[in-house]
């Protein structure tokens, strides 16, 4: 069993934005259920002792927490490389300075679209685009490395060239172009988000060209949408293999979407240590390695490359979390994906929010 490399700390589900592809679960945790500062500090110390090297301070919007500076300080003190994953709309010069002083290493800033009207519509927040540009300026002025993260889909892919220009203009060293992954909120909004095959091919061509043109200046990470794939993604690099998440309420997760799989009982940091959760819990051992796999995964020579694909997607689409991910052409359910692409024509979003 490998120790985990990275911890995703989902500090809160609260967020001023309402993106229809939000990766948070459909049932959001309220502020009263969130872990305390001291509980997070303990999680960071345990994660570092277990072998985690980096922490992603995420949410929801992590800066809605009044103790975000203390949380950052605790992560840094534990020896973790600290990434702040933020929408940027609450960042001001004073907070930026305090985060830097607390030991923050890097900021990832989300961008919903380069067209302000599109960005306001997709993120569901008026005035967000200008605040994000200001946030980018604060990060680079503070001397911290900046990544722009753009979740891309049918309703913003036409602006991909402008997105790359924006990343360069705002001084980002990295750009993540991440096609929507479809579970939770995004699955609910699939008809409004799925790109066409032509859009995907054009996007891939643009990213490939930009990588060459801006080599050494802008690194571009590209996450492809598996609805057009013949082989599934190596989800999380294998269940319980590299990655550890902790939800706002303290549940320890092999993947941020894992709670979408019903019937798994996730350990909670309020009751158990991270080490016990990682090494001994049923939830982590359930899909670890290859022993759980049925055919066609079991006899496949790619089983230690893609680990059968995504368990959450298999469950969401087939109702069986042990099934081969339908993104794989060898899955008997592979045809569902092409059918979903053909049906995806709606322009309307269902925004995320508390019930």
């Amino acid at each position: 069993m490998n120790p985990p490399l990275a911890l995703l700390a989902e500090l809160t589900h609260r967020c001023p934005l309402r993106c229809p592809y939000c990766s948070n679960p459909v049932e959001l945790t309220r502020a009263s259920g969130e872990l305390t500062t001291e509980e997070w500090a303990r999680v960071f110390r345990e994660a570092a002792a277990l072998g985690c090297l980096q922490v992603h301070l995420s949410g929801g919007e992590p800066t809605v927490r009044r103790d975000i500076v203390e949380i950052t300080r605790a992560a840094h003190a534990a020896g973790l490389y600290t990434n702040l994953i933020t929408a940027g709309v609450l960042l001001d010069a004073a907070l930026m300075a305090r985060l830097v002083e607390a030991g923050l290493d890097h900021v990832q800033l989300s961008v919903q679209d380069t067209d302000p009207a599109g960005a306001e519509r997709i993120g569901g927040m008026k005035g967000a685009p200008a605040r994000k540009e200001q946030a980018a300026r604060l990060v680079t002025q503070a001397g911290l490395p900046l990544t722009l993260n753009a979740v891309v889909h049918r309703q913003n892919l036409h602006n991909l060239p402008l997105l790359i220009e924006t990343a360069l203009r705002w001084g980002a060293g990295r750009l993540e172009v991440a096609h929507v992954q479809y579970y939770g909120w995004a699955l609910m909004n699939r008809d409004a988000l799925l790109p066409t095959r032509e859009q995907l091919d054009e996007a891939t061509r643009i990213v490939d060209a930009a990588r060459v043109a801006h080599r050494g200046r802008l690194m571009i990470d590209y996450v492809v949408p598996d609805y057009h794939a013949a082989r599934p993604k190596s989800c999380m690099g294998g269940w319980g293999n590299r990655f550890l998440g902790v939800s706002p309420a303290g549940r320890v997760l092999p993947c941020h979407a894992a709670e979408s799989i019903t019937g798994l009982d996730f350990p909670n940091v309020r009751d158990t240590s991270l080490r016990a959760a990682w090494e001994d819990s049923d939830a982590f051992n359930r899909f670890r390695g290859t022993g759980w796999m049925p055919e066609p995964c079991r006899g496949c020579d790619r089983k230690e490359k893609d680990w059968g694909g995504c368990r959450c997607q298999a469950f969401a689409l087939t109702g069986d979390a042990t099934a081969t991910d339908p993104a794989c052409a060898l899955s008997p359910d592979h045809g569902m994906l092409a059918a979903a692409v053909a049906e995806a024509t709606s322009p309307d979003f269902r925004y995320r929010g508390f019930d």
Binding site: P3, L5, G51, Q108, P145, G173
Partner: protein, 85 residues
Amino acid sequence: MTPRFPRGVRLHHDQARDRWVVMAPERMFVPDETALEVLRLVDGTRDVDAIIDALATKFAAPRDVIATDVRAMVDDLVARGALAP
């Protein structure tokens, strides 16, 4: 050229796995032995020639052989964002 680590990139000792890793924004990689020798000499004041001299002495190897390897290595590390020129 005097290579340096850009802000947000550093060499870090991974105690759990007893190895050195290059830590960078949301990613990390494990340098091979040659890259690690180069990275350990990067201090923002040594230029590439000084790094080559240091390694030629340390390994008692011909300077021109070391020079070719080090220049290619630094080039690659710059392209990967691990070093800034």
